[in-house]
């Protein structure tokens, strides 16, 4: 089977550049038939993702995507491809990432795009890029779908960082192709999408060599690149295709993915977006610009889960967990990119907690099935997106909600949660006084399958250093916990009753909106990731924070900064003071 997609149109939506003013929202939905920058072909167990960026296909006017440099539009397609490979191509065991250009693999993020972008755009773009790279590593590690970087030309900056996200890096040995991280010498910024972290933490390049490598704009090629572990092997040009095919086949043999299983087609999301509302089948967001918040409601399943794993395959993209995850994923990306002034996300759920737990149980009972595995991994990645989202997250647990098991996770990801004690009484005319009180419930999904970037469960992170509290919360699994119990167990922050509810919630949201958004982002990012460091937490925490600081400094983005002067023939004029 071979699928090839040519360039036809950009992802739906045209994009903004300014952070304010009217604009069209960037959309994250696309399809191989619409790719402009990538070709996806599948040959038995090996898929090839060929990067062939359309120079004129930038998401925003004002720059040309030369030398396979990329912008958010290119990355949106890559993300789509990575997702589809996992769900639509169960037979694919190796994904070869290579270039469709002569002598160049990828030159990284487009510099003119970066130089012209507002700060928030750069930060959000890098975050998304990082998440896609983590998704590739997740596929290699947990899906039996191994990524292989076939660098048929020079990979510089973000191009090399893309290669670093692959399990195996092959570099053509033509005495001119090299890998490099030229950001520091050329642009005065960092290789900020995982490069610095992965060079030492993943590939174990010695730190002094890594230092030297990262100050040398021309990079390192040939045998030295292998000796320093920057790549796994160099291959002479005449033997290139053959060797790539051999390696791909060898990785394919180690995979446990099924041979003839049909894939699940990721059908287009039914989605409507108006000025103040984004709706999907299971997820809705009301955009409250006056209060600076998005009110997100996630619906639980409206029916019993299928009785067998075959039923999951049959429902495919309509299977509740997969459908709700896709919608949430798309919504997170949309709000992050397009609604930077909605600084607080208020999350509610609606439905039957028992049904959520039943779906969870079905998935966990069939963890060995490839599709089930993919669904759970996808949910894991989507929740991780929530963790690294620079918005205040507030969960409101009200009667009729279903914060249990997998849907308890958004509440655990939240910076604060409020659970109504009792029910809404006569004070609220729309309320149902006969409703059952809101409950939350810990389930098996909360105890391992959905870890955060730090490698711990959200419960483990929440109760970091407090084994007793973690044990008590774990022991409550299976119980429907009303507010007082949930508060006592530390699963929710506050448990106001209906008399206090409206004011407490209103004031919390208003107060949040009055704080410095930058300070809040910093506060939340620090508190969300208690516990050990991992490559992921280092990338999103340390590396990204340094990069974002450097981006903002005049030495990078000032009129005489390196980012601005790049390509003008003039040298940057640095303020030499160390900070």
């Amino acid at each position: 089977m071979t699928i090839t997609a040519g360039a036809s149109s950009a992802p739906d939506g045209v994009r903004p550049e300014g952070e304010t003013g009217p604009r069209t929202a960037v959309g994250f939905q696309t399809h191989p038939s619409r790719y402009r920058h990538w070709r996806l072909s599948v040959e038995g167990p090996v898929a090839t993702l060929t990067m062939d960026v359309d120079e004129q296909g930038g998401l925003v006017p004002g720059y040309e995507l030369k030398l396979n440099s990329y912008d958010l539009g290119v990355d949106i397609e890559l993300y789509d491809a990575v997702q589809r490979l996992r769900f639509e191509h169960p037979g694919v065991r190796t994904v070869v990432v290579t270039s469709g250009k002569e002598k160049v693999f990828c030159a990284g993020a487009n510099i003119r795009m970066l130089a012209a972008s507002p700060h928030a755009w750069k930060v959000n773009f890098c975050k998304f890029t990082n998440e896609t790279r983590n998704a590739m590593e997740d596929a290699s590690a947990n899906s039996g779908q191994t990524y292989l970087a076939a660098l048929n030309g020079t990979a510089s900056g973000g191009g090399y960082e893309l290669a670093l996200a692959c399990e195996h890096i092959m570099l053509v040995d033509d005495r001119s192709s090299a890998v490099s991280l030229p950001e520091l010498p050329l642009l005065g910024v960092l290789p900020g999408t995982g490069g610095l972290t992965r060079v030492v933490d993943k590939r174990h390049v010695r730190r002094d060599l890594a230092d030297y490598f990262s100050t040398r704009s021309e990079g390192v090629g040939g045998r030295k690149a292998v000796q320093w572990r920057l790549v796994d092997e160099v291959v002479p040009r005449p033997r290139w295709d053959e060797t790539v095919a051999e390696r791909a086949a060898a990785f394919a043999r180690t995979s446990g993915r099924p041979e003839d299983a049909p894939g699940v087609v990721l059908t287009p999301l039914g989605r409507t977006r108006t000025g103040d509302r984004i709706s999907y089948r299971h997820v809705t967001a009301v955009l409250d610009r006056a209060r600076g918040c998005a009110e997100i409601t996630v619906l639980g399943p409206d029916a019993e889960p299928p009785r067998t794993v075959a039923g999951i395959h049959e429902q495919g993209a309509d299977f509740w967990t997969l459908a709700v995850t896709r919608e949430l994923d798309d919504l997170i990306l949309d709000l992050r990119t397009n609604e930077t002034e909605l600084g607080t996300w208020v999350v509610r759920t609606k439905g039957d907690p028992a049904l959520v737990l039943a779906y969870d149980a079905l998935l966990l009972d069939h963890a060995g099935d490839w599709l089930v595995n993919e669904i759970v991994l996808y949910l894991k990645r989507t929740l991780k997106r929530l963790d690294v989202t620079s918005r205040s997250l507030i969960a409101l647990i009200e009667p009729g909600s279903c914060f249990a098991g997998s849907l308890l996770e958004p509440a655990l990801a939240a910076d604060r949660s409020y659970q109504l004690s009792g029910v809404f009484e006569d004070a609220d005319p729309g309320a149902d006084p006969d409703a059952d009180p809101a409950t939350v419930g810990v389930g098996p999904m909360n105890l391992g399958p959905l870890p955060m970037g730090n490698g711990l469960t959200r419960l483990g992170t929440r109760f970091w250093g407090d084994a007793g509290a973690l044990a008590a919360a774990t022991a409550s699994a299976g119980e429907a916990l009303e507010a007082e119990d949930a508060e006592r167990l530390g699963l929710v922050t506050f448990a106001p009753d209906d008399i206090d509810w409206a004011d407490e919630v209103r004031m919390a949201i208003e107060e949040r909106a009055s704080f410095s958004p930058d300070a809040l982002t910093g506060l939340e990012a620090n508190y969300r990731f208690a516990g050990p460091e991992t490559i992921e937490t280092k990338i999103f925490g340390r590396l990204a924070a340094w990069q974002n600081w450097i981006f903002y400094r005049p030495n990078a983005s000032g009129p005489d900064g390196a980012l601005r002067k790049f390509g003008t023939g003039q040298r940057a004029d640095f303020d030499k003071k160390r900070v």
């Binding site: 009792g422 009484e425 004070a427 506050f494 008399i499 206090d500 004011d503 919390a508 208003e510 107060e511």
Partner: protein, 475 residues
């Protein structure tokens, strides 16, 4: 949800104009607070056992409503919750929200600041009751005893007023803060009242009158700034409290009047300044008490400059005295003012932005007001044909807060080395000997129509009743 227990008839027990009977939140909050308040009153309120006292009870905000008199047992006093009438067109008068409609709910943005302001104000109200709890036993007359208890129950009501705001507008945190107001106690080692001046016992009646004149007057000015608040319920609460506060100051003003009057009588009768041996309080001792109470009350206004107060003003939380009568832009972002300072070791002034100097602005209003009382007492001396006069000491005298806290000056404002101050301060502030003497005069007079020798009787009784009315029935 636990159902509310049978609701007590709060409107009967707690006179109010806040629709208490239909406000579940308030009812619930008061249900646990009210018994605790009564326990506090029993343990920290007046110690002298009484059967009943001729008290004024506010039953509504109209002119007649808040002047409702009768003999009541203090424990059964109906502490009400009253806000001045709402002006539906009221707008924010100052700061960055100037011109916007005032707030009926607490904006989340200002929750913490507003809560803090209310807690600090609320903390002073029960504090004075605690400070004055033993005074009943040494009252110079039943009339004065009654006035003391009136002040006490009204300070209790002012606590209620602040607690109302905490209960009605600040959710659980508000209820917790309200609880704390009862658990901090004046002079307590482990949980004292927030402001230092409210941790000193009021040991005698001269101190009581001075306190109600000078320190309650600080309260008046603080309430006056909160009356301007953009948070309308706070504004309306304070407006009503100010009416009662003026009675407390009346007690202080006329109390000192009567002390001065009696002293002048003794001076004339015996042709001497030293009336101490004659059962009176010498004028210089009155001056020393005045010096002390005035200077510590000046400290209550805080430092000359305050960024907190500037922020409160800009946010619309706390205005200036008579804000709406001022002729400026009510934002003050570009204005400056002179505030007291020590410049090159001398008393001087320094220019600061008007916003950060607001404490000084309020203190100046207060000082002007204090001078009125002094003028009034001097008229008594003048009418008696005596040449002596009372004076407000210099602003820098005996200060422990603000620019002058590091220097010592005479009441005239002359700088002194610390050693000299230590040597001479007994001439300006009450000495142990003075205090002992004043205390020795504090023998109770609990007989109708009789009064202690150190103070003159009032010109009029309360609510048209004569001086010898049975204002208090002792237990």
């Amino acid at each position: 949800m636990t159902p509310l227990t049978t609701p007590a008839d709060y409107s009967e027990k707690i006179p109010n104009n806040v629709d208490l009977h239909e406000d579940r939140r308030l009812q619930r909050a008061l249900e646990s607070w009210q018994p605790n308040f009564l326990t506090w009153w029993e343990s920290m309120g007046p110690t002298l056992p009484t059967e009943d006292v001729y008290l004024r009870t506010a039953v509504n905000v109209g002119r007649e409503g808040w002047a409702h008199f009768g003999h009541v047992a203090m424990r059964d006093y109906r502490w009400g919750i009253f806000l001045a009438e709402r002006d539906r067109d009221r707008r924010v008068a100052f700061g960055q929200h100037r011109g916007e409609p005032v707030w009926q709910k607490v904006p989340g943005e200002y929750r913490a600041d507003l809560r803090r302001l209310i807690v600090i104000q609320g903390d002073t109200e029960p504090a004075s009751v605690e400070q004055q709890r033993n005074l009943g036993a040494t009252a110079p007359s039943l009339y004065d005893m009654r006035n003391l208890f009136q002040v006490n129950v009204e300070e209790g009501r002012h606590l209620w007023a602040m607690v109302y705001l905490l209960h009605a507008y600040f959710g659980r945190e508000g209820r917790e803060e309200a609880e704390e107001l009862l658990h901090r106690n004046s002079g307590s080692e482990e949980s004292p009242r927030i402001l230092g001046a409210f941790n000193e016992e009021t040991p005698d009646w001269l101190s009581f009158f001075m306190f109600t004149y000078f320190t309650d007057r600080d309260g008046k000015y603080q309430l006056g700034t909160l009356k301007e608040s953009a948070f309308d319920p706070l504004s309306r609460t304070c407006e009503f409290m100010l009416k009662e506060e003026s009675h407390h100051m009346f007690v202080g003003t006329t109390g000192i009047d009567r002390v001065v009057e009696r002293t002048a009588q003794l001076m004339l009768e015996h042709d001497t300044d030293d009336v101490g041996g004659l059962g009176g309080i010498p004028l210089n001792v009155i001056q020393k008490y005045l010096n002390f109470h005035y200077s510590v009350s000046l400290d209550l206004f805080g430092s000359e400059t305050s960024t907190n107060v500037a922020n409160y003003f800009t946010a619309g939380l706390k205005g200036r005295w008579s804000e709406e009568r001022r002729r400026d832009d009510h934002r003050l972002t570009d204005d400056s003012m002179m505030v007291d300072a020590v410049v090159d070791g001398r008393i001087g002034q320094t220019e600061v932005s008007a916003l950060v100097g607001l404490n000084s602005d309020l203190r100046r209003e207060y000082i002007r007001d204090c001078q009125n009382g002094v003028n009034r007492w001097n008229r008594i001396l003048e009418e008696a044909g005596l040449p002596q006069r009372l004076h407000l000491p210099h602003t820098a005298f005996n200060r422990r807060v603000g620019a002058f806290s590091g220097i010592e000056v005479t009441p005239e404002g002359e700088l002194l080395p610390v050693e000299e101050w230590e040597r001479r301060k007994g001439a300006w502030l009450p000495t142990d000997l003075d205090k002992t003497h004043v205390r020795s005069l504090m023998r109770p007079v609990h007989e109708r129509g009789k009064i202690a020798a150190w103070i003159a009787p009032p010109r009029q009784g309360i609510n048209g009743k004569p001086f010898d009315y049975d204002y208090v029935h002792l237990a």
